[in-house]
């Protein structure tokens, strides 16, 4: 370790104490990866307990020009929390207080390390909830949700994280604390809050958040339709949206996923179905009853072979369990998976899945499809065994081909996971150099030294420059976990 690095660690230890500053290799292994395929060991990991410590850490790192990567729970799927060598990772798991729940104004004031579902448990005591519900909500943090502008099944009706964040207290690279937005729905001036959300930790670090809570619906109805093919399930999606119905959630899984779910969970999904579609409506009783009937009719008309309707909360949870645990169940098919997060106009879901099938055959890789069908956000999961020589290049190439199809279909590279390391080289598919430069100009306002989360989002300026993803390929030996 260089003498400068020693100085940095010594100074960090003086800010947070030795127990909350880790630099031993064996201590760092837990922080070298997130939910993506990349990994890298940082120089050190620091766990602050309050904003003053965060500010002092940043002042120190700014002085030594050491890059900084923020980390919530490390559940991100695009490599957003991967810290390159010689950078310092700031982990927010100890800043996890729910400071206040103002039930009259329906505002939660929380620290960034609060786990999404923990907030809901607390808010529920006041008859309130926080709407964004990423699948990892039992583990992911609010700070991470803000960095990635996280979504979830119910964002179809309620919107993504950005729609529910009123204000954010952030610390910038030289340790200045600023409030972006506030406690009101609107704030004057440029929407600094809005541009910060989804900036993937490249603008600054969040130390406090004001979140808008919503009330629980009076009534919820959940339906599960089985279809002979993904095309007919896709037609049902178009039929429901085209009829002017916007459900709270509209989720789909394909036959390969159904089989793996049934193998593990035995929730009663029809094993021979080509796809199942989960539809949930929320609202006043009178509304949901009528909507349930209309949707059921549309499911039958679109070719559904079976329609199940949850009679109570227990049955609802059972119907949802197949969807919620779908990704985990894929472990029965292959030891590793790579999740693609493309988006297409929702009318093109069936087309996209057909194309994914072609790619699956072309690359000889099984692909299971899990879709937030209501908003066109698809998650083809490319299944593989990391021990197969050369497999990772093939997986990444297949993922890249799927994203190209999404973009060509009028869609986008990421619906909710972010660009991070994983998709940054594909950014030129969607944005010109001018578009990207405008984004960089915005980043430079918040972080003129580009101190935060280096090498994320933007493609490498020098073509062919290897970075972590390439390194991951290189390093993928029999001892590697990917």
């Amino acid at each position: 370790m260089s003498s400068i690095n020693n100085k940095v660690i010594h100074e960090l230890e003086s800010i947070v104490g030795k127990s909350r500053c880790m630099s031993m290799r064996e201590d760092l292994f837990c922080y070298e990866y997130d939910g993506s395929i990349d990994k890298s060991l940082p120089l050190a990991v620091v766990l602050p307990k309050n904003k003053e410590e965060v500010a002092n850490i940043l002042k120190c790192l700014y002085k030594f020009n050491i890059k900084v990567v923020g980390r919530g729970s490390g559940t991100g799927l695009s490599g957003g929390a991967i810290a390159p060598e010689n950078s310092v990772q700031i982990v927010f798991s100890l800043m996890d207080k729910i400071i206040d729940i103002d039930s009259v104004n329906r505002i939660a004031e929380v620290e960034p390390g609060v786990i999404n579902s923990n907030l809901n448990i607390e808010a529920q005591k006041f008859g309130l909830r926080y709407a964004p519900d990423p699948s990892s909500q039992q583990a992911c943090s609010i700070g991470g949700n803000i960095a990635e502008n996280a979504g979830g099944p119910h964002c179809l009706l309620y919107g993504v994280t950005s729609n529910h964040v009123l204000g954010i207290e952030v610390v910038l690279e030289q340790g200045q604390t600023v409030l972006l937005g506030g406690k009101l729905k609107e704030s004057l001036g440029y929407d600094l809050r809005g541009v910060f959300i989804g900036s993937e930790g490249t603008f600054g670090l969040v130390t406090k958040v004001f979140l808008q809570l919503i009330e629980y619906p009076e009534s919820t109805h959940t339906l599960l339709g089985s279809f002979p093919s993904i095309e007919s399930a896709g037609n049902a999606v178009s039929a429901i949206i085209g009829k002017g119905i916007v459900p709270a959630a509209l989720e789909m899984i394909d036959s390969l996923t159904i089989k793996s779910v049934e193998k593990v969970l035995k929730v009663g999904l029809p094993k021979n179905a080509g796809a199942v579609l989960l539809v949930e409506v929320e609202g006043l009783q009178e509304d949901t009853q009528i909507l349930r009937k209309e949707i059921e009719q549309l499911l039958w008309e679109s070719g559904s072979t079976e329609v199940l309707s949850a009679k109570d909360e227990k049955e609802r949870i059972k119907l949802w369990s197949g969807r919620k645990k779908a990704i985990g169940s894929l472990g029965t098919i292959a030891p590793n998976y790579f999740i693609v997060d493309g988006v297409v106009p929702r009318t093109k879901i069936a087309f996209l899945v057909q194309e994914v099938e072609k790619i699956s055959k072309l690359f000889n890789l099984p692909i299971a499809n899990i879709l937030h069908a209501g908003d066109g956000n698809i998650h083809p999961c490319i299944l593989f065994d990391e021990k197969t020589p050369g497999i990772l290049e093939k997986v990444l190439q297949a993922g890249s081909e799927i994203l190209k199809i999404c973009v060509n279909a009028g869609g986008s590279l990421s619906g909710e996971h972010g660009i991070g390391l994983e998709k940054k080289e594909q950014m030129p598919l969607l944005f010109s150099e001018k578009d990207l430069n405008a984004m960089k100009n915005l980043r430079d306002v918040f972080s003129p030294s580009n101190l935060f989360n280096p090498d994320k989002i933007f493609p490498n300026s020098v073509k062919g420059t290897p970075f972590l993803q390439n390194n991951a390929v290189k390093n993928a030996g029999k001892d590697s976990y990917i």
């Binding site: 729609n163 406690k183 009101l184 729905k185 001036g189 989804g198 009076e218 106009p345 578009d435």
Partner: protein, 451 residues
């Protein structure tokens, strides 16, 4: 403004523009006086029809150190502080087409100059609408609304225009045309650039195109109008709205005198305050909603019986009133935490106590109040008004709110910053302005912190 040998410079610029733009897109006669802002008449008004013309205008503006103010339907053109540079008024009204409508995907892409009414009429054919309201929708353009109208009256259920914005195309002062966001309803690819330009008062670039997500039209709108004789009783009623099983689509509280003569009847003439509610949805649900509302509204009030069509106009008329541009009126928009409503009402009574005529429109669910104050030009009245306005605005800050003077005489703008807030992020705002408009071409001096 152009000072140096003004006519020669202007003539040169016009000559240069005319080589690229048809003559009917450049106005250099008395018609330009219709675009006066705070008493300043621009040297030229330009109506470009394509993006390359806008690029050219920026190049010329940069070369000659000119200031440009973009505008759409002129409905909110006076919003902002007094301009520091205003040479060219640039209208987007010729860029007004619907580029794309994906009926079954509930999205649309439009040019910025299309009016809200034209777009809504088009979408209505498909049973869809864009959940944005605006004063004077027949004139107000999408670009103008996005730039100037973040949160308005009756938006508690629909949110801000930016919440419906998926993608954007913008002309920067560098002449570059950039895009941000996308055309799909869920997207986190790159930074959320649409948010940067929405509500930026055209100070960072000119919005050329916008993509929105849409929603099905809410069916069966129904309205209730009640009158009350005191503000205390009105607030008691509002307090009970939290017990409703649902959030009404619209709740407006206002001085009854704002109802125009056609909707006035004997009940409203005697009353001081009115509550207007709108609900929509399936008929069965509406029945319950109406019953619940009536149970609350009946307690101290009188139902004003009007036809549904007549009631439907009240909603738009109130929204229009919030942007009244009469010089003798000051229209103040106040955002406040809803728990501080009573404090805000108490503060606002200082005007009445000092015999300054005022009217209020309140959206208690969104935490927004519009207050119009009568502005008399004599010196004693003026000084008193300045003093009270100052006190009132400080009071708003104290309760965690902020205020904008949306419309007023230039004398007020000379005395007050129209935007008043208490936040410590001005250095970020300034840095953004410097990055995106380094030469101060767009709307200079008019936004927060006189950016």
């Amino acid at each position: 403004m152009i000072n140096l040998n003004k006519n020669t410079t202007i003539n040169k610029i016009i000559a240069e523009l005319e080589t690229h733009l048809p003559y009917n897109q450049i106005v250099n006669n008395h018609e330009k006086e219709q675009i006066t802002i705070d008493g300043i008449v621009p040297s030229i008004v330009i109506y470009p029809t394509n993006h390359s013309q806008i690029k050219l205008i920026f190049t010329i503006a940069k070369k000659n150190n000119l200031g440009i103010i973009p505008f759409g339907g002129q409905t909110k053109i006076n919003l902002g502080n007094i301009p520091k540079k205003f040479d060219i008024a640039l209208s987007t009204k010729n860029l007004n087409s619907i580029i794309n409508h994906q009926q079954f995907d509930l999205t649309t892409t439009v040019e910025a100059g299309i009016t809200l009414l034209k777009l809504q009429k088009f979408l209505a054919k498909f049973g869809q609408y864009l959940p944005i309201n605006s004063p004077n929708p027949e004139k107000a353009t999408i670009g103008g609304i996005l730039s100037t109208y973040p949160l308005g009256l009756n938006t508690s259920n629909i949110g801000l225009p930016r919440d419906w914005l998926l993608g954007i195309k913008v002309a920067l002062t560098s002449g570059e045309i950039i895009k941000g966001g996308g055309q799909v309803v869920k997207n986190v690819t790159g930074y959320d650039m649409p948010k940067l330009f929405s509500g930026a008062l055209g100070t960072l670039g000119i919005i050329l195109e916008a993509t929105f997500k849409l929603t099905p039209i809410k069916t069966n709108p129904e309205y209730l109008l009640y009158s009350y004789d005191s503000i205390e009783k009105t607030l008691e009623i509002i307090e009970q709205f939290k017990n409703l099983d649902f959030a009404p689509d619209t709740v407006s509280v206002f001085n009854s005198c704002l109802l125009n003569s056609s909707t006035k009847n004997s009940s409203t003439e005697k009353s001081n305050y009115s509550i207007f509610c709108k609900i929509a949805g399936l008929k069965n649900t509406n029945k319950r909603k109406i019953e619940q509302l009536q149970n609350i509204l009946n307690q101290h009030g009188n139902l004003i019986n009007l036809e549904n069509t007549e009631l439907s106009f009240i909603e738009q008329n109130l929204i229009n009133y919030t942007w009244n541009t009469k010089q003798e009126l000051i229209i103040l928009k106040i955002n406040f935490p809803i728990t501080n409503l009573k404090k805000l009402i108490n503060y606002s009574l200082i005007f009445e106590k000092n015999n300054i005529n005022n009217q209020m429109i309140l959206d208690p669910l969104s935490g927004i109040m519009y207050l119009s104050l009568e502005f008399k030009q004599n010196k004693t009245n003026k000084n008193l008004l300045y003093q009270l306005l100052n006190e009132f605005r400080k009071g708003i800050l104290n309760i965690g709110g902020f205020s904008v003077i949306q419309s007023c005489d230039i004398a007020i703008k000379r005395k007050f910053d129209v935007w008043e807030r208490s936040q410590n992020n001005s250095f970020l705002m300034e840095a953004i302005k410097r990055k995106f408009d380094p030469n101060g071409i767009l709307n200079k001096g008019r936004f927060i912190d006189k950016l």
